[in-house]
């Protein structure tokens, strides 16, 4: 009876040691994403858009995790909800937030001037950048990420509204697209995913 008991205790201790060493590492290297991971062949096509501070190239943000949202300033519901969520994500990331750049690419170039976008974005987070360009350029950029937008008839006062995809497009620090984040994800879930890319 004594030997098997000793053996059992030794085995239990061994298991405990291995677990203690491996489990935290497993948790830390949790590579699973809440969003949809993608692995395109190459980096997205370079583009140049206009911000209130001047021309902006996508490649200017190499070195940062880029979170792109396609929206517009007259949007009262989904856009503010998404941008205030991303502002909370940056808060949650702490110092890591310095390496996260949120961009909103306008789906309403007719009404969204660079200045208007800048004021709108700054109201959520000083670091957020709003970009616009010609309708054709914006459509090309949206299309390469599978983002849809289209004008829709509004009321007398709203004039028109814009139907648009609410999915966030995430590029890693090397400029490759890594994720789509659906609208429903929480602040914690988005933070987790971005943390994994940093």
């Amino acid at each position: 009876m004594k030997r098997p008991l000793m053996f059992g205790i030794a085995a239990a201790i061994l298991v405990a040691i291995v677990a203690a060493a491996v489990v935290p590492r497993l948790l830390a290297s949790d590579e699973s994403f809440n969003g949809t991971a993608v692995d395109p062949d190459g980096p997205p096509e370079e583009f140049t858009l206009v911000s209130a501070a001047g021309d902006v190239n996508l490649s200017d943000y190499r070195g940062s995790v880029v979170v792109m949202y396609f929206g517009y300033t007259n949007c009262p519901d989904f856009c503010p909800a998404t941008l205030s969520k991303l502002s909370k994500v940056r808060e949650q990331l702490g110092d890591d937030a310095d390496d996260v750049q949120v961009l909103m690419i306008s789906v309403d170039p007719e009404r969204d001037s660079p200045e208007r976008l800048a004021q709108y974005m700054a109201s959520f987070d000083e670091s957020f950048v709003g970009l616009t360009g010609s309708d054709e350029t914006l459509r090309g950029i949206a299309a390469q990420f599978g983002i849809f937008f289209q004008k829709a008839e509004g009321g007398d006062a709203s004039g028109y509204t814009v139907d648009h995809s609410t999915t966030l497009v995430v590029l890693d620090q090397q400029g490759r697209q890594r994720l789509f984040l659906p609208y429903e994800l929480t602040v914690d879930q988005v933070s987790h995913d971005l943390e994994n890319l940093l």
Partner: protein
């Protein structure tokens, strides 16, 4: 009561009685005021609106000079020019509406001093695409306690078009809601983060 206001004390008590009567009349009057206001707590009102709130929003000024680059050339564009939603940002008001009347009602319009125009909108998500539409003919408010209508993010909302003031957390403002049956009801809206 009879002991306190016994015959022998009646003479000395009449001032107190007078005060009590006046107080009662005033209380009744206050009660009536609350009823007319119907901003939520009155359970007898046909339409009861509770938890009216709005997202914070800033004023967007299209003529703003960014980093001193431009000078204001178009002086004609003032804050009254809210055409096509320009000039101010838009906002959204959410609330819970209960209809205690016997008949169905309908929220057909709304008005507020803080925005150039107001529309009733609904948002649908269709395969990840957000579609916002004006609600044709207004928002139906069915009768009955279980038929509460909730205006909330990602769904129905009262859309404020062309805000003429910023909405900051903690601010309150009034919105007049026009119901087909219940008439106009004024509710106080609180600005807060969702």
């Amino acid at each position: 009561m009879s002991r306190i206001f016994g015959r022998s004390n009646l003479r000395s008590c009449w001032p107190i009685l007078l005060v009590a009567v006046v107080a009662l009349v005033m209380l009744a009057a206050c009660g009536d005021d609350d009823g007319d206001d119907s901003s939520g707590s009155d359970g007898d009102a046909a339409i009861v609106v509770t938890d009216a709130w709005a997202r914070p929003a800033i004023l967007l000024d299209d003529d703003a000079e960014m980093e001193g680059e431009e000078t204001a050339e178009e002086g004609e564009m003032d804050h009254d020019d809210m055409e096509m939603g320009m000039g101010g940002a838009n906002g959204a008001v959410y609330m819970t509406i209960e209809n205690n009347a016997d008949d169905d009602d309908r929220l057909v319009a709304a008005e507020t001093e803080v925005a150039g125009a107001v529309e009733l909108h609904n948002v649908n998500m269709v395969e990840g695409v957000m579609q916002m539409r004006e609600v044709e003919g207004g928002i139906e408010i069915p009768a009955g306690e279980s038929a509460t209508v909730v205006l909330e993010p990602g769904g129905l909302h009262v859309m404020l078009i062309g805000l003429n003031q910023a909405l900051e957390v903690g601010d309150t403002f009034d919105v007049e809601l026009d119901f087909e049956q219940a008439g106009t009801i004024t509710v106080e809206v609180e600005v807060r983060e969702p």
